[in-house]
């Protein structure tokens, strides 16, 4: 349930950038989440409607872009996607792998309507 704290962070970052850009209203918020981040989109959406009340972000739509987890095998140099579970390199069976993508968690952009 740390989604509440996360949602408050999203709001504060969005408001900061909205104000810097003289926004009258924020219409859309684009968030990037890696597959390995333990964040539940639905919970963020639920908290969002509550925490954004009485701000220029109220009513903004949240869009979540999911980045699949990809690993790189340092032995045979194969890059491979994670399926359901963590697994060794599908090509050579090595456990010496490192995560290439899947740990992202950032606010990518906002869409605003400017003051007239």
């Amino acid at each position: 349930m740390h989604e509440l704290a996360v949602t408050e962070n999203i709001l504060s970052i969005a408001l900061k950038h909205a104000e810097q850009n003289q926004a009258a209203r924020v219409t859309d918020i684009n968030i990037t989440i890696g597959q390995l981040s333990s964040i539940v989109d639905d919970s963020i959406q639920f908290y969002w409607d509550i925490v954004s009340e009485e701000t220029i972000c109220h009513g903004a739509k949240l869009h979540f872009k999911r980045i699949p987890a990809e690993f790189f095998c340092t032995d045979c140099k194969t890059q491979f996607a994670m399926n359901q579970e963590l697994a060794p390199c599908p090509n050579c069976g090595s456990f010496r792998v490192r995560i290439v993508t899947g740990e992202e968690f950032f606010l990518d952009s906002i869409e605003i309507e400017r003051k007239e």
Binding site: H2, V6, H17, D28, S38, E85, L86, F95, E103, E113
Partner: protein
């Protein structure tokens, strides 16, 4: 007509900034701080008590206890052995964050300490997302929790500096495939420092104590 504004800001940035200030403060005071995470019932408090008992003659230790409920059961056990303890009630939140940590260290006598042990809220998900400004992230994985935990909670294993495999005295009674467990850890955090031990029997505990004391010494030499 809506305009797109590029942001590209890490969502945990505010927490990370506070954490970084805390780490600088602790480092300048030469106090080593460890963030101890585990699931409920893994034996965090027992582990801390034994660690304190074994190091009490050589290190000055303070403890920050994170709990979701306003109970001082854990903090009371620490103060009973004569060490300063601060209780932080997270008010239902499932983790400690950098702001809570900041209030915790402000209540401890930093000039008179060598080591701070932070007992995070018992949870394998949320604490992984919040840097506290400690120098080391430590996880206790107890044998009865099962060998699949690295696969189910990859995030917490990713951020670790040290792994404690505890309650090894229960290995004869529980189905726990150590190879499968270690493979999961290796995939997520290659070469992770690991100590297998039992805080009840003391088996393997001295390796951990030696290692921790060494880290505290290195902090003093900084």
């Amino acid at each position: 007509m809506p305009t797109k504004v590029a942001v590209v800001e890490k969502i945990m940035d505010a927490n990370d900034q506070v954490a970084s200030q805390i780490r600088d403060k602790l480092t300048s005071k030469k106090v080593l701080a460890i963030n101890l995470m585990a699931s409920p019932g893994a034996g965090k408090t027992t582990f801390i008590l034994r660690t304190i008992q074994e190091l009490a003659s050589r290190l000055r230790i303070g403890v920050i206890e994170g709990d979701t409920a306003p109970v001082t059961i854990d903090a009371d056990k620490i103060t009973a052995v004569g060490m300063p303890a601060v209780q932080i009630n997270t008010g239902g939140e499932c983790h400690l964050d950098a702001m809570m940590m900041s209030s915790g260290i402000n209540q401890l006598p930093l000039d008179d300490l060598d080591l701070i042990i932070v007992e995070n809220v018992g949870n394998l998900i949320c604490p992984a997302a919040f840097n506290l400004g400690t120098h080391l992230n430590v996880l206790i994985a107890s044998i009865p929790e099962g060998d699949d935990k690295p696969y189910k909670y990859p995030n917490i294993y990713r951020g670790l500096d040290v792994l404690i495999v505890s309650k090894t005295d229960l290995l004869p009674y529980i189905k726990f495939n150590m190879d499968y467990f270690k493979q999961g850890v290796e995939l997520l955090n290659p070469g992770l420092s690991t100590f297998a031990l039992s805080a009840t029997t003391g088996d393997g505990f001295s390796n951990w104590i030696e290692w921790l004391e060494k880290q505290a010494e290195l902090m003093k030499q900084n």
